[in-house]
């Protein structure tokens, strides 16, 4: 055994090119796959850290009996109350939450700041099954009206703002001016929901007529033991019928959509993850084909030696052992290399992974998402390579078991060219690699184009030189519409007085977060959709001149003006997509939009203008959103139905570079000392950070495409150059018979071109298979377009050309005398 191992080491040292190519192939295949999956697992796939997490479901209500995802929405207070009361057979617990920003008063050396928070029902933590790290959870008395002001804080908040003080329990925090007692600290890494640092009790108000229309509550339930999701959905349907019979109300929910909690965070990512998994498998397959091809080449090269050894009495076990040891040695070196590559790449990928505020994917960041080395994937990838190594290590045994040893021995003596079967075998590896690489590249390019389009879709307004920031706008700070209007005017006046500020305007929600505020509506002359009888549109609050200041063109009619007061006729501006949806080919100016249901109490709004469409990154939970309806702030503030925690100011500066944060904070302090500006960010920067999940998926897919290409290039070069090297004698003979260098290059190029053509054609079939697999899960998977095909053909053609041309050029320079003397 030791002598065989020594021999294997010596052989590898003797063939450094073979050893380096094989080890690099293995290391890249194992390392890159492990690194990418380590990050994907941490950020997207890791199970939730709760006991019996499979019984946790996200709870949506639906206004029809289907309970389908597209027709479902967040819960209303009325639904939470009804289902908590009647759903005891279904849910062990049903909790609700809503997100908000609160201003935390100065603590020690830390000045007042705005912090992400959540209001949760008292049973929220017990439904999740999460005991606090310190202190206790909320009690049932604490989420009732008039209950004590208490707060649970995150581990991060405790350590960063309270210095991790041990006597934190019972300490007082001033939140939006109201003292709250700290009763607990959550476990490390827990920030759910809304990436909160603070949790306060959610008090459901007394039942009111409009309450059922306000679907703002995030719902989470723990199913009773033994109940499946399908059974629970049926039970909810029956419960809704019973509730409606007892207290008929057209706004009552009719059914529920109950995805498992973890799945609800990655629901829209699953197909994207599938794309990544398929791409990873393709890359691994290419690496495996590379390795196998190299081993086979090696076996063929040494076939004469094996035959000679067999003729001299070597047993087949001995021959196999020698080859297996070599494969094992390469596998170990490749695995170590893979470990190194994974440890280099992983931190870089972590830096690129989603950290933003998109709906999809980011929720997983609210739990333990620290990236850890993915040992299962590493073991799988290394195992595949070892299997390939051992599998092809057996090949010499098969070949050596042939009864006729004369051929191989003679061929060694003559330094024969590759025989037809060997050439076919090697050709099949080249074709396989090309086919998989072509499929991987075509699919990667198509998916990358799709994600690029998403990422680069224009915003529809100007982000240049504009800085946005949020300001809390809750009733607790500004209790009346008049106070709010006054505060807006004051702040805008102060902002406009900052040197370097050209314009200042205010809106809600942030221009880049349109999906935050939805509005139920109907368009005049258009029948409402049954059974819910309203459409959903994005709602935007704006002041006169907003659209001009933000660079969004008013294409028809007018912008809001000073004449749009609380007492004047109720008006709105709609987006072009809204007009296309409801009044195609008609003049929308003067038409009306009903806020809420047609028979509801809310007013009709007269359309006074149409603006271009601004990009909205939709929340998949919202279903169809028909466009945007903008309303004047003055008119919105005068209605009870408009409740908003924060508004967004946008200032346009002279050059967009000067540090302006301090000036903004000072302006706000002058306008109203209770208000704090937070999330001050240039719109350019915010734009570059939007769609982080898609950007990340785009990055991963591109990386796999590049990895596949590199592996294919290494493999093709390795196989083709060895292929050519083995034909030295043939080229020598051809040269002796009159072949010029051009003849030799042409010959190799022609054979290479044949392999490329077959490989690319096979790649077409593989691609269509892959696309079909992915499309089963993700109907939006773009069909490979002509650009992808052409680019792939050009890139792979170039790679294969170089892989053929370099050894061909070398072969053409072979001195026939030397080639023939080698006999």
């Amino acid at each position: 055994m030791a002598s065989d191992l020594k021999y294997a080491v010596r052989l590898l040292i003797k063939s450094p090119a073979f050893a380096v190519i094989a080890v690099c192939t293995l290391a890249l295949g194992i390392g890159a796959n492990t690194a990418i999956f380590s990050v994907v697992e941490g950020t997207l796939l890791r199970p939730l850290p709760f006991p019996n997490a499979d019984r946790l479901v996200r709870v949506y209500e639906a206004s029809d009996e289907n309970g389908a995802r597209g027709g479902s929405m967040n819960l209303s207070e009325q639904t939470v109350r009804q289902w908590a009361e009647h759903g005891g057979e279904i849910f062990e617990g049903l909790a609700a939450a809503t997100g908000l920003n609160v201003t935390v008063g100065a603590i020690g050396g830390n000045s007042a700041r705005s912090v992400q928070a959540a209001r949760v029902t008292s049973n929220f933590f017990s439904v999740l099954g999460l005991p606090p790290a310190l202190g206790r959870n909320f009690s049932t008395e604490e989420d009732r009206p008039g209950g004590p002001a208490v707060v649970i804080i995150s581990d991060d908040f405790w350590r960063q703002y309270l210095g991790g003080q041990s006597d934190v329990l019972g300490a007082t925090l001033t939140l939006d001016g109201i003292p709250h007692t700290v009763i607990g600290v959550t476990p490390k890494t827990f920030r759910h929901p809304y990436r909160a640092d603070l949790w306060m009790p959610l008090t459901l108000g007394p039942p009111t007529p409009g309450q059922a229309l306000n679907h703002y509550l995030y719902g989470v339930g723990r199913l009773r033991r033994g109940l499946t999701v399908a059974q629970a959905s049926d039970a909810v349907r029956r419960m809704c019928v019973a509730i409606n019979q007892a207290a008929p109300d057209s706004n009552n929910a009719r059914s529920a959509y109950l995805p498992r909690l973890r799945e609800s965070f990655v629901l829209d990512l699953r197909p994207k993850i599938l794309v990544i998994v398929v791409a990873a498998l393709c890359a691994l397959l290419i690496a495996a084909a590379n390795f196998a091809g190299l081993l086979v080449t090696r076996v063929i090269e040494r076939e004469g030696e094996f035959a000679l050894r067999a003729a001299l009495g070597a047993s087949w076990q001995r021959l196999v052992r020698q080859q297996l040891l070599q494969a094992l040695l390469l596998s170990v070196l490749g695995t170590l290399g893979g470990l190194l590559i994974a440890s280099w790449i992983t931190p870089a990928l972590v830096a690129m992974s989603p950290e933003g505020t998109d709906t999809t994917g980011s929720a997983m960041r609210e739990f333990d998402c620290a990236v850890r080395f993915d040992w299962p994937v590493f073991t799988f990838a290394a195992g595949v390579m070892l299997f390939v190594g051992l599998g092809f290590g057996l090949l010499p045994a098969v070949r050596a078991s042939r009864t006729d040893l004369r051929g191989p021995i003679n061929s060694t003596a003559r330094g024969s060219t590759l025989d037809r079967s060997a050439r076919r075998l090697l050709g099949s590896f080249v074709v396989t690699e090309l086919a998989v690489a072509a499929a991987l590249l075509i699919a990667s390019l198509s998916a990358a184009q799709y994600f690029r389009q998403l990422v680069n879709e224009p915003w529809g307004f100007s982000t240049d030189r504009r800085i946005a920031f949020n300001v809390p706008f809750s009733d607790q700070i500004l209790s009346s519409p008049v106070a709010k209007e006054h505060a807006l005017d004051e702040i805008l006046t102060q902002l406009r007085s900052i040197p370097g500020v050209r314009t200042a305007t205010v809106t809600g929600p942030s221009p880049m977060n349109a999906p935050r505020d939805l509005m139920t509506c109907n368009a005049e002359g258009v029948p409402p959709p049954e059974p819910r009888r309203y459409y959903l549109s994005y709602l935007r609050a704006a002041i006169p001149g907003y659209f001009k200041n933000i660079g969004e063109t008013v294409v028809r009619g007018r912008d809001f003006s000073k004449i749009d007061t609380a007492d004047s006729p109720q008006v709105c501006i709609v987006s072009q997509s809204f007009v296309r949806r409801f009044w195609p080919g008609q003049d929308p100016i003067g038409k009306r939009v009903k806020w809420g249901r047609l028979d509801g109490p809310r007013p009709w709004l007269t359309v006074v203008g149409v603006v271009g469409d601004a990009k909205a990154i939709p929340d998949p939970d919202d279903g169809e959103v028909v466009g945007m309806v903008a309303r004047p702030f003055t008119q919105l503030l005068s209605t009870d139905a408009y409740q908003v925690d924060e508004i967004t100011f946008v200032v346009e500066t002279d050059n967009g570079r000067q540090p302006i944060g301090a000036a903004i904070r000072a302006s706000l302090a002058r306008a109203d000392s209770r208000l704090a500006a937070y999330q001050i960010v240039s719109l350019d920067k915010a734009a570059s950070q939007s769609r982080v999940t898609e950007r990340f998926v785009l990055t991963l897919i591109s990386l796999f495409g590049v990895l596949g290409l590199v592996l294919a290039a290494v493999g093709l070069y390795g196989l083709l150059s060895l292929h050519v090297a083995r034909r030295q004698r043939e080229f020598g003979i051809r040269s002796a018979l009159g072949a010029t260098a051009a003849h030799i290059v042409r010959l190799i190029a022609r054979q290479g071109a044949t392999l490329i053509t077959i490989g690319f054609a096979a790649g077409g079939f593989v691609t269509s298979g892959l696309v079909r697999v992915v499309r089963n899960q993700w109907s939006a998977m773009p069909a490979p377009n002509i650009v992808s095909w052409i680019l792939t053909a050009v890139v792979l053609g170039a790679v294969a050309f170089v892989a053929c041309w370099l050894p061909a050029r070398r072969a053409a320079r072979i001195d026939p005398v030397i080639a023939l003397r080698a006999e």
């Binding site: 051929g407 003559r414 024969s416 060219t417 025989d419 037809r420 050439r423 004698r729 043939e730 003979i733 051809r734 040269s735 002796a736 018979l737 009159g738 072949a739 010029t740 003849h743 001195d815 026939p816 005398v817 023939l820 003397r821 006999e823």
Partner: protein, 222 residues
């Protein structure tokens, strides 16, 4: 008429420390058109080296080489290749047939490198197959032939483009005596038809087929 004229031809390979190893020393040789010359000598005497220089496969020599009054030593590699393709045919001891090509295809190869039209090539191959009486074997692969048959194909391949000169490197070295005799008779016939032949051989018997013997020893003509 002199076909080959060598003057002061030398071939050496560099050794370590700036030294050289000479395989051919000061060769002066004339071969007339229509001659059948045998080069003999012990192993390592430089026979094959001389043959490859005559066949213009080797370019690393010094001295003068005239082929039908063309100064080969003034030609570049491309011009030498063109001259070789036009004038020289090679027969090897190891036959050097291409394993994956049939007999027919092996014969076609030299023509394919000489800008001969496809139809003309087909006619020439058919004619050669007929001339060497191997028509029945045209679709066989080299491994399906005996050594003598393979060398027969090797000779057929060497003469298919009607070279003026055939260079043969121990053409019967791998054949048993009766097969060897057949090949030598074939060379004799070709020579009688006007082809100049230079062969390297260890065999006195084979050398006797020719009309002149050149002895080489340690790179010198003796």
């Amino acid at each position: 008429m002199i076909m080959i004229k060598l003057r002061n031809l030398e071939r050496c390979y560099p050794l370590a420390k700036g030294k050289f190893f000479y395989v051919l020393r000061n060769i002066n040789l004339d071969v007339a058109e229509g001659e059948f010359v045998s080069i003999m000598g012990p192993s390592g005497a430089g026979k094959s080296s001389l043959l490859h220089i005559l066949g213009m496969h080797d370019h690393g020599w010094t001295g003068e080489y005239f082929f039908n009054e063309t100064a080969v030593h003034h030609l570049n590699a491309k011009e030498r290749g063109a001259l070789r393709n036009e004038q020289v045919g090679f027969v090897f001891q190891q036959y050097h047939l291409l394993d994956d090509l049939t007999v027919y295809e092996n014969l076609d190869i030299p023509l394919s490198y000489r800008k001969v039209s496809k139809a003309e090539r087909a006619a020439m191959v058919a004619d050669t197959l007929d001339r060497f009486q191997i028509v029945a074997k045209k679709d066989l692969y080299p491994r399906q032939l005996s050594g003598g048959q393979q060398q027969l194909v090797g000779v057929a391949r060497a003469i298919i483009s009607n070279p003026k000169l055939i260079l043969a490197d121990e053409p019967t070295g791998n054949l048993h005596s009766s097969q060897g005799e057949e090949i030598m008779e074939l060379f004799k016939k070709l020579n009688a038809e006007g082809t100049t032949i230079v062969q390297v051989t260890h065999s006195e018997k084979n050398a006797a087929y020719g009309n002149r013997i050149i002895q080489l020893r340690d790179g010198w003509v003796v």
